[in-house]
């Protein structure tokens, strides 16, 4: 394929607006064409100036407190890194040491999903936060690796009901058995009800467990799949009567594979 065949697509490619077949044609060409790669890189750089223009034009101003929170969070995680060798690590391969710094990132991501942002995001009160998320932090190695891994795959979960803002994500990693499910903006289950995560693979559907939802509507479930790098044909979060076998309840979130 020559440069002429894709030349008219490079702008759309840099913007990420091409149809999948067009994008595939461009990518196939870029592999072997440094000239066109250079053109795309320059377009991407030009487009990357758009947020700067918007910042200049916008009346909205970055709150100063954000940086202080981040600065407080970063050295904390660096200090933790120093303590790390003394801590028992489960039977999993040691990660390069810098990956441990990602801990705060993983917690931040969890909280970002919790999405009632400002208050829950007091990263400078990390100690306090650790207590609140004690359960989660016990599993932090897993959550971190699964959620923030280089090859992590995410499956989005959305409400079948258009007017609901509830959503969730399922994180899997091709090298791990552990799976993380997070959901946000779910209402508290009524007495005698609970949320289940139902997974379908190879034609069978089973519950991965109960998804507990906190007062802010945020839920987290970490479980071990029956194989490394599990894939599911469908993922649902359902509201089930606590007394019955899961699978009869109403679907509140359902999966759409991310491209």
């Amino acid at each position: 394929m020559s440069c002429d065949d894709v030349r008219e697509l490079l702008e759309g490619y840099a913007l990420g607006v091409l149809e999948p077949d067009e994008r595939a044609r461009v990518e196939a060409h870029l592999v072997s064409c440094a000239d066109c790669r250079g053109i795309v890189a320059r377009y991407e750089e030009v487009l990357a100036a758009l947020p700067d223009a918007l910042a200049l034009a916008s009346p909205l101003r970055l709150p100063e407190a954000i940086k202080q929170r981040l600065l407080a969070a970063i050295p904390t995680s660096a200090a933790e890194q120093a303590d790390e060798p003394a801590r028992a690590v489960r039977q999993r391969p040691r990660r390069p040491i810098r990956r441990l710094l990602a801990l705060v990132g993983a917690v931040a991501l969890v909280l970002a999903l919790a999405s009632t942002a400002a208050l829950s995001f007091q990263l400078d009160h990390e100690r306090q936060l650790k207590e609140r998320f004690a359960g989660l932090l016990d599993q932090r190695e897993i959550v971190l690796e699964v959620v923030d891994g280089r090859d992590t795959e995410r499956t989005f979960l959305r409400s079948p009901n258009e007017s609901s803002t509830a959503y969730g994500k399922l994180f899997t990693n091709p090298d791990l058995r552990d799976v993380v499910v997070m959901a946000a903006r779910l209402r508290q289950p009524d007495e005698g009800e609970q949320y289940h995560v139902l997974l379908t693979s190879e034609g069978a559907t089973r519950s991965a467990g109960v998804l507990k939802v906190n007062a802010k509507g945020f839920g987290l479930l970490v479980f071990e799949a029956d194989r490394t790098g599990p894939r599911y044909a469908a993922v649902r979060v359902t509201l089930e009567p606590a007394s019955a076998r899961p699978g009869q309840g109403k679907t509140v979130l359902t999966s759409t594979r991310e491209s």
Binding site: E8, G16, V17, L60, A112
Partner: protein, 202 residues
Amino acid sequence: MSHVDSDVVLAARTADGDVSAWSTLYDRYAPSVYAFAAHTLGKEHAEDIVQDAFLRLWHSAGRFDVNRGAFSAWFYAIVRHRIRDELRHRRREERLMVAGDADDLLAETPIPGVDVDEAVMQRERGQAVLRALQSLPPDQRRVLVLAYFGAGLSQRSIADYLDCPLGTVKKRTRLGLEKLRTLLDSADASRDRSADSKEARP
């Protein structure tokens, strides 16, 4: 372009755990990340996006590869991807509308004068591109801005929204971005000629 080199150096130092390098990149880019997120997702989500983006920068700066393009392009791609994740939950009309608002703002804001503060770099870049955007034909500017800030919208949905043929949107995208590039190339060239002393600032 020496300002790009500076970003590269700062990214490398951040990857080595240098908080002051990270802090400089924050000052340079956080206002833009915030504006991007606040105008597409709303102020309440924008803080999350900024925090997430800069925590990611802190622990993933080592993944930036200078051979594959500018730091700004790499970093904003992360931000835009994250915003696109959030936007998936919104209706297409809403996404087009907020991107359209961003376009109105970009089209109508008077170019501010040069001032010296912590975000000089970002302001210099912003000024040049704001000037360039305002000299584009409005139809071309609009498809570019809708496509960029509508993160993930297809050209077809932009064509439907603007009530014009898909071919027209593709043509405007092509001409608009090509022209924007030319305008910024000449702005970069003239700034590089005059800005060596500024770049030496710590």
